[in-house]
């Protein structure tokens, strides 16, 4: 199947700004699904609210576009309701880690088999450029007109500490890696987090003088390095890309099935 077959083409061109990285995530996420040969009926995409969350409207799966920050809680109901479905949850950084932070760590803690994709543009795109919990110190935003003094989360470390069993990071510059990592994240049995650095040229780029979308992607190339690289040792500032954490652990829905077996036997 061509990736266009996974699209709801009648809604194109999509609503994202020119150069918005969210479209690159969409582009390559669909390639992962195509390469895995998944059928459209076995995929549920659940999203919250934000520019990033609009992704669910564009794909021809079962799609649930919910409320800000709560996508993982809705997704938990879908997954536990029908564990045979593949549940994918793309989220903005604010959606996932500000308003949705609690659901994020608890979904990770349960190790429920959901693929969470954090589309990290370090800003609130939809509401027009306020800082997010991933903006980081010193960045500029409409609500940090002098400079941001809020520390940021390290999504990967946070996910790992919370119990996610697959954690990876890449960027929109590294398109092939997006496809490769999302494939593995979907195949992983347990809670997987994929952080994708994605440019918001309209707000983050403009506010922080990072130039055009292409220029922002050049920065992803410059500021990141494959995990375990020599470059990282020489320059600890570099952000690591790749699969940062992968372990096997009991998955929530499987464990609940065991509870049902035991409860039904005891009856």
């Amino acid at each position: 199947m061509a990736i266009k077959d996974y699209l709801r083409e009648r809604f194109f061109p999509h609503m994202w700004c020119p150069g918005c990285g969210h479209g690159i995530v969409l582009n390559n996420m669909l390639r992962s699904i195509e390469q895995l040969g998944l059928s459209k009926n076995e995929i549920v995409m659940v999203s919250g609210i934000g520019c990033s969350s609009r992704i669910s409207g564009y794909v021809d799966f079962h799609t649930l576009h919910t409320i800000h920050g709560r996508a993982l809680a809705f997704a938990t109901g879908v997954k536990l309701g029908l564990p045979e479905l593949n549940v994918i949850v793309p989220m903005g950084d604010g959606d996932a880690l500000a308003i949705g932070g609690n659901h994020f760590i608890h979904a990770a803690r349960r190790n429920i088999d959901i693929t969470a994709i954090v589309m990290n543009n370090r800003i609130y795109g939809m509401t027009g450029g306020q800082f997010s919990p991933l903006s980081g110190i010193g960045t500029m935003a409409t609500t940090a007109p002098f400079r941001n003094i809020d520390h940021d989360f390290d999504v990967a470390e946070l996910s790992k500490a919370a119990g996610a069993t697959f954690v990876a990071r890449t960027t929109t510059f590294h398109a092939k890696q997006i496809t490769d990592i999302i494939k593995q994240a979907i195949l992983h049995e347990g809670f997987s987090v994929v952080e994708i650095l994605t440019q918001c040229p309209t707000y983050f780029g403009r506010k922080n003088r990072e130039g055009s979308a292409s220029n922002m992607m050049e920065l992803y190339k410059k500021n990141t390095t494959p995990i375990g690289s020599q470059a990282k040792q020489e320059n600890p500032e570099l952000i690591e890309r790749g699969i940062l954490h992968e372990v096997e652990a009991p998955e929530y829905c499987n464990e609940y099935d065991k509870i049902i077996k035991a409860a039904m036997k005891g009856k």
Binding site: L7, C20, G23, I24, S214, M217
Partner: protein
Amino acid sequence: MAKPKLKEHIINREWCKGCGICVHFCPKKVLELDDTDKVVAARPQDCICCKLCELRCPDLAIEVIVERQ
């Protein structure tokens, strides 16, 4: 394996928003934006079919079609 040979670039002008990402990252400078800010394959003969434009286009607006060997 033989090198893939370009058949054509399919550009969806309705979808292209002229962001210039494909133009910027094309290693062979095959692509250009025209006066309406839509992408065109200006030098298709130089295309090495790396498909980086296709993978990085946020609007799913460009496709590199290779000759079937």
